[in-house]
């Protein structure tokens, strides 16, 4: 029983890391209907910027603020040079644009800051903590706590502020939003900046775990099953999806692994996503359109 609980909790905590990556996608997808393939590159760019600043001797807090600033400027640039010229084009056009964007950002990141693996020390010790008989990783706990805090902040932003209500209005009906004077370009700038900052948080946690390097941008591939399970349009869905993927991976590795020779973690999330596509294609929390006839 303890082994089961330990595996489950470890999985859930690891899952919040997936959720963090998935939230960045949901934000942009909701506001502009674009599947932002460049989210992983943004995550890598943010982590690399932070690490490089730290290596130059910039204090942690200042480095964090500067990186946030860089992500905001990046969002403004992307909106101006990529999104605005392509407004009203089909979704696939925008998707291809973000695909190209991901190469540009990755190239820039490595060109400016080098391609070698950097260690990122956030000052969180990865020591095991014991709750009774159950062992939990301290790092995982901090990561989960950060994810929770971020989600609460986002919920406040979306539900309690004028910008948040406007963001949701645009997500619901772009044309109606335009007709009452909401500035779409401004909204996109804000959403991409917020997604960039979420990417920064995810990038730091993932970077601290596996080192800051090119492969960091590949964590987005893990976000895909999370989104399919949770739904592309719901932040809550991204969280639950991440938890499900994290827990399922860990449990499968522990209990199914020995039966079929192990190595389940890399593919189990995709298998799970496939199952969801069969039984619930909109995801658990995906928005089906509300329509009155």
């Amino acid at each position: 029983m303890n082994v089961f609980l330990e595996t489950l909790i470890g999985g859930l905590l690891a899952g919040t890391m997936y959720s963090l990556v998935a939230i960045g996608f949901v934000l942009i997808y909701k506001a502009s209907g674009v599947f932002n393939f460049a989210q992983g590159a943004m995550l890598l760019f943010a982590a690399l910027t932070f690490v490089s600043l730290r290596e130059q001797g910039v204090p942690t807090v200042l480095a964090l603020l500067l990186t946030v600033l860089v992500m905001i400027v990046g969002a403004l640039l992307i909106e101006r040079t990529v999104l605005r010229p392509l407004v009203n084009r089909s979704q696939i056009t925008l998707f291809m644009a973000t695909l190209g964007l991901s190469f540009i950002i990755e190239g820039l990141a490595q060109g400016l800051m080098g391609a070698q693996v950097r260690a990122l020390d956030l000052g969180i010790e990865d020591v095991p903590l014991f709750f009774g008989e159950i062992m939990v990783s301290q790092f995982d706990l901090v990561a989960a706590g950060t994810a929770v805090a971020l989600v609460i902040l986002l919920a406040l932003l979306f539900n309690k502020t004028r910008i948040g209500i406007s963001l949701r209005a645009v997500a619901d009906d772009t044309r109606a939003a335009l007709s009452i004077g909401i500035n779409l370009n401004r909204i996109w700038q804000i959403v991409w900046a917020v997604a960039g900052i979420v990417g920064l948080v995810a990038g730091l946690l993932w970077g601290a775990r596996q080192g800051v390097q090119f492969s960091l941008s590949l964590v987005v591939l893990k976000a895909l099953p999370v989104l399919i399970i949770g739904g592309f349009t719901s932040i809550g869905g991204a969280i639950v999806g991440g938890l499900i993927v994290g827990a399922a991976e860990n449990l499968a590795e522990a209990y199914l692994g020995p039966l079929i020779g192990g190595g389940i973690t890399p593919w189990f999330a995709y298998f799970l996503a496939l199952v969801f596509l069969y039984i619930r294609p909109a995801g658990l929390f995906g928005e089906r359109t509300i329509e009155r006839v």
């Binding site: 009203n88 004028r162 209500i165 406007s166 949701r168 209005a169 997500a171 619901d172 009906d173 772009t174 044309r175 109606a176 939003a177 335009l178 007709s179 009452i180 004077g181 909401i182 500035n183 779409l184 928005e287 359109t289 509300i290 329509e291 009155r292």
Partner: protein, 256 residues
């Protein structure tokens, strides 16, 4: 009247559309030649069958044609004497022109109150000011107040139409473009909505340009009407005059 005087917009002109042509995707002609006028505080109907070009005309005025990959390729549109062709829709809302789209288009996942608030943000009002505007809209549409916390997508068609109009009022418009407000609604609700619109016009001086297929209701509440056919103005006149014209009735009963 001399030409010099004619060329100057009259003091009471709110909206003037002069010979516009609208083309979709660079090839499809939706509006061939439409001219119309709304006076300061006027209430005008744009009548015509499906596909006559009513919605496109409204979108051309509000700047939303751009979002449909269409453009005004000829003619002029003036709001309060200023040329507005090519001005973005969200900027026009700031200048007092707001468009209530066909089919309501409320923000269905937002609450009724959030829908209304979203219309007020444009002017960056203080909190108290926003509350006041909200109460003013609730005074016009008391039904919305009872549903303020309901998700807008779950309210009835009539309530959604009221919400769309209320949301537009939150921008404090000089001119409201209202596209097919009667669509899919019970006659008694249609009557209620037109009654409120006429009152808004009479008491607060808000100008209205209303595209409608429902000629009877529309002509009972407006001052003046234009009839569109195949993207052109086929007739115009004071409401009472149009209502009495046999050919227009005939046209609407499907006799063509």
């Amino acid at each position: 009247m001399s030409n010099a005087i004619q060329a100057r917009p009259a003091a009471s002109e709110l909206l003037a559309v002069e010979g516009i042509e609208v083309i979709y995707d660079g090839a499809i002609l939706a509006v061939a030649d439409v001219s119309l006028r709304v006076e300061q505080g006027g209430i005008v109907a744009l009548l015509g069958a499906n596909g006559a070009g009513k919605s496109t005309t409204l979108k051309a005025i509000s700047g939303l044609v751009g979002a449909d990959r269409a453009q005004v390729s000829r003619g002029r549109i003036r709001l309060g004497g200023e040329d507005i062709v090519g001005v973005a829709a969200n900027q026009l809302a700031g200048r007092g022109l707001v468009h209530v789209l066909e089919g309501r288009h409320v923000f269905s996942h937002l609450s009724v109150e959030e829908n209304l608030l979203s219309g007020g943000f444009l002017r960056r009002p203080r909190r108290g000011e926003l509350e006041q505007d909200l109460e003013r809209v609730y005074a016009w549409f008391p039904r919305l107040k009872t549903k303020r916390r309901t998700q807008a997508g779950l309210t009835s068609g009539g309530e959604q139409q009221m919400l769309a109009i209320g949301r537009a009022l939150m921008t404090r418009p000089r001119l409201v473009l209202l596209d097919e407000p009667s669509m899919g609604l019970a006659p008694i609700i249609v009557e209620e909505i037109f009654e409120i619109v006429a009152q808004l016009n009479a008491r607060e001086g808000v100008g209205f340009l209303i595209a409608e297929q429902n000629i009877n209701v529309a002509l009972r509440h407006v001052h003046y009407g234009y009839v569109l056919e195949n993207g052109r103005v086929a007739g115009e006149g004071p409401a009472a005059e149009l209502a009495a014209r046999e050919d227009i009735r005939h046209f609407y009963l499907g006799g063509g």
